[in-house]
Symmetry: C3
Subunit: 304 residues, 3 copies
């Protein structure tokens, strides 16, 4: 299967997800053996409006492990000293004439979709504006669940944190709605609960879910805990004790021995570093899986 662009989680069918994961596993082996030079004549451009060195490096390392080249910009908002607000479409047309693939982090919600509509080369959405998507993050999250739990079906997945803002939660919920028989539990103070449009999507796809503000009740059932960023000041302004939604050694004691802790990183205060040593803490393995999943996506987009 060949991909044209990677814009949103919804575009990934179950067979496409399985092919992607098979390729990602091959990429783990490829990296162990020192990478390939198969793509040494291909050029990827990273256009980041809004810095995210972690995501940018993950894409750039993926392309380089495949032997490819990179054009890189850390701060595309300073794209030109001449025209402050250049049209995204013009930029994409011009950059697309120089390279074989564009990785775009846009500040506009539909940036990646607009870019893909006119780009002469494949576009990957590396995260678009607030309320938007971050599909490669969701794919690596799901791949990590597959690698850690040996399945992506029949799981109880607990999402915890400030869920209304989380681009990664949205994108992963879409994917989990595709694969079968999972149960999603959203744990957050009511003021920052998951957005209605996601719940509608889950309803439409017959996915079981629950909403609660009480972590204690649901954490013992979790196969996967997906912890997201919490802005402590924001929770405090809602009169919520931020620590109530944090992971620490005490919370850990309540979890099943087989459960898996994920976090999209970077973390703020919501996971105590003491948790890192626990074998269930999978978030650094999760970050590393980004390399393999992105390599797999690049091969699907670039292969002739």
């Amino acid at each position: 299967m060949k991909l044209s662009h990677v814009i949103e989680s919804q575009q990934f069918t179950v067979p496409l997800i399985h092919e992607l994961f098979a390729r990602a596993r091959q990429m783990e082996a490829t990296v162990r053996h020192g990478g390939t030079r198969d793509y040494e004549r291909r050029i990827m451009a990273t256009l980041f409006y809004g810095s995210s060195t972690r995501t940018r490096f993950s894409f750039e390392a993926a392309m380089q492990r495949l032997g490819g080249r990179v054009l890189s910009t850390e701060s595309a908002q300073d794209f030109s000293s001449e025209i402050p607000g250049e049209h995204l479409e013009d930029t994409i047309r011009i950059i697309g004439g120089m390279c074989d693939l564009i990785v775009l982090r846009s500040r506009e919600r539909d940036g990646a979709k607009r870019a893909a509509a006119i780009s002469p080369v494949p576009v990957i959405n590396a995260g678009d504006g607030e309320g938007g998507q971050h599909p490669t993050q969701a794919l690596l999250d799901l791949y990590t669940i597959q690698q850690e739990c040996r399945t992506v079906n029949g799981l109880t997945v607990v999402f915890m944190g400030a869920l209304d803002a989380g681009r990664t939660v949205r994108s992963l919920a879409y994917l989990l709605g595709k694969v079968e028989r999972n149960r999603l539990i959203f744990v957050a103070p009511p003021e920052v609960q998951i957005a209605k449009d996601i719940l509608r999507y889950l309803d439409d796809h017959g996915v079981r879910y629950e909403l609660t503000s009480d972590p204690a009740k649901v954490l013992p059932q979790a196969d996967v805990v997906y912890q997201t960023r919490i802005d402590p000041d924001r929770l405090r302004s809602l009169d919520v004790k931020p620590a109530a939604y944090n992971l620490d050694l005490e919370t850990l004691a309540r979890l099943k021995p087989s459960s898996v802790l994920l976090h999209p990183l970077p973390r703020s205060v919501e996971i105590d570093p003491a948790v890192d040593q626990d074998p269930r803490a999978a978030y650094f393995r999760q970050a590393r899986n980004g390399l393999f999943v992105r390599m797999a996506l690049l091969t699907m987009l670039l292969e002739p």
Copy 2:
């Protein structure tokens, strides 16, 4: 012919221009076939004081399509956290000791010339300060005229916009003064007309030119329309309707079917996106030609 540095349009003789264009055409074929690895051990450094991702990417893609490596800085003005105003000469001597070629966008008018005077490696001027030059842009502009019109002689070239500030207009006018029997028409409100020193240069070289503030009269004669950036606020402050110097579907109707529309990009409001679909709109092909012309220049500077 081997080049030492690329500093200003005036240094390009007609035979040199023809060799460059022949190489650029070869490079189009090279890129179609996936690039080369001929320069895989050569390193190019891009030193940009003042961001221009478009120009930087064009040089970096050119070097990479040749197999070469890149050292890149988006914002050389933050070169050092220690010395705010390091001497350009010191920087060039040091960077020149690490790489095989320097691409410099300076904020100082004579930056590239000063750099070339002491650099241990070739220097390319990627645009220097206000009133300065941008010779690789002029070369790709002229190459585009050659590719679109199948000649660079005997043409009527209309420059339109705020012509006093345009570095690209200056550099292209110098080049057009070299090749034969062209007629240049500069269309702008008198307050922002082309600078006197360019007109003196054209007089000295026996080039025919006209100045006018009325687009309607001259556009129907144009073989090439070179539209440049217009700052609408500036025109308004001069009591000029900015739209009078814009290209839109209405203006387009007045042009010859064989005419060619160029713009150095990025554009602001001066070309209506509706124009993009017209086959005469050559500005995205023009941007792409930058890749081939820069590859050609790199081979002329780097080959042993």
Copy 3:
């Protein structure tokens, strides 16, 4: 000998220094012959909190001359748009999962040491906070002394400038305390003299040293003059004539014909450009030696 990390000058034993210098000399030959491709499957990440294009380019050129790849960030302080103060440890764990080596310029004094403690890949300290170290600079300084004087023993080395702030002076003094029978002279106004902890270190290692505020007396004895940056405003605020500690043609006349002038660069006003032409001015050769020493260090850290 294999290195694990490069954190501080103190870790370099005399045999390790000699092996490094032997490798650096090989690297000079390697670069003359166009570099190698031995490390073409290895990736180095440069994480710079605080810009220093010169040092970053030197590392990146070193890696590329070895055939390797680079992930690059000019301004890691803007690492994430989401979490302003991400933990260094988390960053290093994540980036270390993508690459084979990390070059870190930290703003925190113990940044490199903390990074090395948890990094899955080798870490090189490319300069840490005020009062910290810059060991690769010290190694290239010592290598330059070796190349220029044909020895690193039995020399009179004069350090001149504002010595209290100089990270490079600290790091080089540590190294010179390791090799034998050198005599160090620190020339500075008392208010900005070398810090006490360095003198204690020299005492402990039986290194002869002198402190003075009078350049005229000691410059004629110097085999090596290591001039460092002077902030003229700061000296003026101490009622000291900054020019008293500068190098110009007049000072030069007092030096031995065989003496060697070093400066870590960039310079401000403290070396008159007229001095550059003198064969004793070795600071641009010194900067270039950074390439060979860093290539040598990379091979020692990366070889299997």
